[in-house]
């Protein structure tokens, strides 16, 4: 017999997971949410797009990414709010005067005591400050310490500053056979020639599949000088 777990407004957890796939926020004030991740709520809550006039002060202090503004809303009011995303695993994280960078599509919600900034790594956002945020992953999240190399699709995010960089494995290109492979494509590739490498102090978050959450169509490099991919200097 598999009865679904029953909750009412009092038994829903406060800022904790209701099950591994749904997170319950006890809202008293404001939270930032990514659009479309709310599945149900009790109480009086309004949802306002970023850019809504009365929220200007809040956004000025906590939201520093015009690129992502169209994908985020502010939930304002009192009640219990359930968040979920395509039945992926949901985890909440507490930051204490810290920083964490996460793939923009994986971040579901955060407290306004944190401040969101766009990472210089395209497709990622950085949260700075003290507070709680909620992120999704396909499968459970594993925390690993640098130095480590991570498959790009399995990377969820990283905390502190483990200097992320690309690593290309050219071992398979060496020697005569490698040269033939490289030139003809015969023999194929393992698909693991490219990794993200992390060194230094910090923590790296890895999900247990290589299926990425759909990325938001944002996070490309700004087309300006001094940024890779931008126009050349005159």
């Amino acid at each position: 017999m598999s009865d679904p777990v029953e909750y009412d407004v009092r038994t829903l957890p406060s800022n904790d997971n209701a099950n591994p796939y749904a997170f319950s926020v006890e809202l008293a004030g404001q939270w930032f949410l990514q659009k479309g991740k709310m599945i149900a709520y009790y109480g009086q809550i309004s949802f306002d797009g970023i850019g809504h006039g009365p929220l200007d002060g809040l956004i000025a202090s906590s939201f520093h990414s015009p690129l992502h503004a169209a994908d985020w809303v502010v939930a304002n009011g009192h009640g219990k709010l359930l968040l979920a995303d395509r039945a992926y695993d949901i985890n909440s994280y507490d930051l204490e005067d810290g920083n964490l960078t996460v793939r923009s599509g994986n971040l579901l919600a955060f407290e306004p005591s944190l401040s969101l900034k766009q990472s210089i790594i395209p497709g990622f956002v950085t949260l700075i400050g003290t507070g709680k945020f909620v992120a999704a992953s396909n499968g459970q999240v594993h925390f690993v310490e640098p130095p480590i190399r991570v498959d790009p699709q399995a990377l969820v995010g990283w905390a502190d500053c483990p200097s992320p960089c690309h690593h290309y494995d050219h071992q398979y290109l060496r020697g005569f056979l490698g040269g033939v492979r490289h030139l003809t494509g015969i023999g194929g590739a393992s698909g693991e020639e490219h990794q993200f490498e992390f060194t230094g102090a910090g923590t790296v978050l890895v999900q247990s599949t290589e299926k990425m959450l759909d990325e938001q169509s944002v996070g490309g490099t700004p087309q300006q000088q001094g940024v890779p991919g931008g126009p050349p200097q005159p």
Binding site: M1, V5, E6, M38, A40, F47, D71, D85, A87
Partner: protein, 212 residues
């Protein structure tokens, strides 16, 4: 008497001793013993069912399974929840209904305007009587209790079913900002008032409402 149990969380096992259950057409994955499968036209509601389901667009392909032994049902690795009905009525989207005990009656009912934002039409399937119904969800379902003091708002894409004396209405947050592209992404909610249970899934179907 058919006996329902969920194996793991994604397979429904039904023990049959000569009686019948109704299940979504094609959802059998295995069986032990002797079984026969018969497609029921019009969701198993007879001629009236054929006509109403055709008219309302709440299509439901149902088969009747009779036999002795154990029959296993599953669909798209979706999670299964059992809902026990004691004479009350379960409202469920046809696409989320996996199986019902033979004694339960199914029908269609008008749900009001909320269907417009849901892409599931204006009608929903009802299940009435005494017995168990198996409901599917994308991820394990949560049952949320609604009482007079605590109405509940649900995203149309996450709604799967409800029981009890509930009234529902579509709540819209569409403002001029939605039109100029600054919508909140949560433009439509179904508001449930009264006494009852609402089942939601930790996932959202694609809805028109989800885009606004």
């Amino acid at each position: 008497m058919a006996h329902f149990r969920v194996e793991g969380s994604k397979v429904l096992a039904v023990d049959l001793a000569g009686d019948a259950v109704r299940a979504k057409n094609g959802s059998m994955v295995a069986y032990e013993g002797q079984m026969s499968f018969k497609k029921l036209t019009g969701g198993g509601n007879g001629l009236r069912g054929i006509v109403t389901r055709r008219l309302t667009g709440e299509q439901m392909a149902v088969m009747e399974v009779t036999g002795r032994g154990t029959c296993y049902f599953a669909d798209g690795a979706r999670d299964i929840s059992l809902v026990r009905l004691g004479g009350d009525k379960l409202h469920v989207e046809a696409s989320n209904l996996l199986a019902t005990e033979g004694g339960l009656r199914t029908g269609t009912t008008f749900t009001g305007l909320r269907g417009t934002s849901q892409g599931n039409g204006l009608f929903t399937t009802t299940v009435e009587g005494q017995g168990l119904a198996a409901v599917m969800s994308d991820g394990p379902a949560l049952a949320l209790r609604v009482d007079a003091q605590n109405p509940l708002q649900v995203d149309p894409g996450a709604y799967i079913a409800h029981t009890g004396k509930l009234t529902q209405k579509l709540q819209s947050g569409v403002t001029f900002r939605t039109v100029i592209g600054e919508g909140s992404g949560e433009a439509f909610q179904i508001r449930f008032e009264g006494e009852g249970l609402v089942y939601v899934q930790p996932s959202e179907r694609n809805t028109i409402g989800g885009e606004l």
